[in-house]
Amino acid sequence: MRAEALLDTRSSLDIQAVSKSYRVDGKPREILRDIRFTVEPGELVSVIGASGCGKSTLLRLIIGLDTDYEGDILLDGRSIDGPTADRGIVFQEPRLFPWLSVEQNIALGLDSSGASPAEVKRIVTEHIEIVRLNGFARAYPHQLSGGMAQRAAIARALVSRPKILLLDEPLGALDSQTRAYMQDELLEIWRREKITIVMVTHDIEEAVYLSDKIVVMEPEPGRVCGIVSIDAPHPRRRGTSKFSALKDRVLSVLVRTQSAASAGLVRSHPAAQGGIARRYG
């Protein structure tokens, strides 16, 4: 009984043989080929891969902004058909409305919820604190740094308590300190709200730190080249040898394709580079 009620707040996601082409100069260009993976209810899954391999495109398909693809995307067993309120997304760019203050922007996330103005006020204030924007409620987007704007966008996606949350490199613009804080905050929200999260990231360490499962993609066209399960309990400690071993496992899947290395994914991780040198040098 109880377990069922619990499961009800989570969503499962089934990506079945999804392919996607864009038309460029009249010719179709394959962006995604035969993507398959599943996200169990309540799982936190990262998608990692070189830039341009179609990660953002995949999230657009899942959120329902683009329905022109082959294959099936099933949410709780049902085919998706346009955006719904129980799916939330944080785009790669903050996409705040320039003429609205931070609190007004975040309140937009509750527009379809039917919450009373007092409730909206309370929930918005609460989330401004969660994303550490205290004191900036009345600020306008042009007065925020890139990282602050992205945190406002995260708050906007969180206020409606979506069952499944899609995040497109949400922490990419943050400094390392705020980033670490936001990672923990994300874990906290994930645990508390029991939501399903699909997060795109280019940071292997971040993926290993947060995820239950890492979907590794390779480019041209975007394909899944491996799925790594991370079975370590939270909180995970970054410095440990076990953690490094996990990172190496993800990396070994990544570098199986040369294009990943040439796309600069690996270069930003000096420790990881040592790993490659050992193996291939």
């Binding site: 346009g82 955006p83 799916r87 996409r95 409305f97 320039p98 937009l108 527009d111 379809s112 042009h142």
Partner: protein, 256 residues
Amino acid sequence: MPENKYDVFLRGLAFPAVLVLAWILVGQFGLIDPRLLVPVQRVIAVPFFDPDGRTIWLSLVTSLVRMVAGFLIGGGLGILIGFVIGTSSLANRLIGPSFTAVRQITVFAWIPLLTAWFGNSDGAKLVFIALSAFFPAALNTQQGLRDVPIALIETSHVMRLSWRTHLFRLLLPSALPSIAIGIEIALISAWIGTVGAEYAMGFGRGIGIFLAEGREQFRMDIVLIGVVTLALVGYGMNIVLRCGLRRLVPWQRQNS
């Protein structure tokens, strides 16, 4: 060193001051036939002491009322139509092409048609002024709505914003700078249209008719004070517009 606003204003005044001075001197020494270039003091006296010149006040008020009425009708309809073709692709396909075609007609080409339909009445003038204001308002509104960033429209979709929120928190604020420019051009067009219609159609009262009559009676003093009045009205409209529109789009101030 920041420029003092007052200094800028004074510097802008320098050139007209030189012209007026030259005008006074020319009058003083009788260099040009006073029937062609009337002395300054006579021009200034016209609206107050000349029986024909005194009608300028009523003419001016009539013209301003006419302009405001035409501007409200034409500008209002323009924003409405621009909004419809800017937001509905169906309406854009239906009305868009005719709209673009009709827009190619110079507004003054409408005068013969309008006088044929409505005579030289107030109605014809009003329709003409409304037409002058309509196209800039419609065009800029449509443009502004078409330029709403797709990224934000997508964001609105994924958040499932209600149509009201979509309209008042996204479409209108985003299009507002463009709509404001449309309103500005519409008002100026309405003023040009007012004077043009009055001048071309005659009949009744108005600053354009005042000018036309002055010319027919070869009263250069009346013509000159008419022209000066037109300039002053234009200048006044600019000030009003600048203050009003700046208040309309406050978030743009910091960006520029």
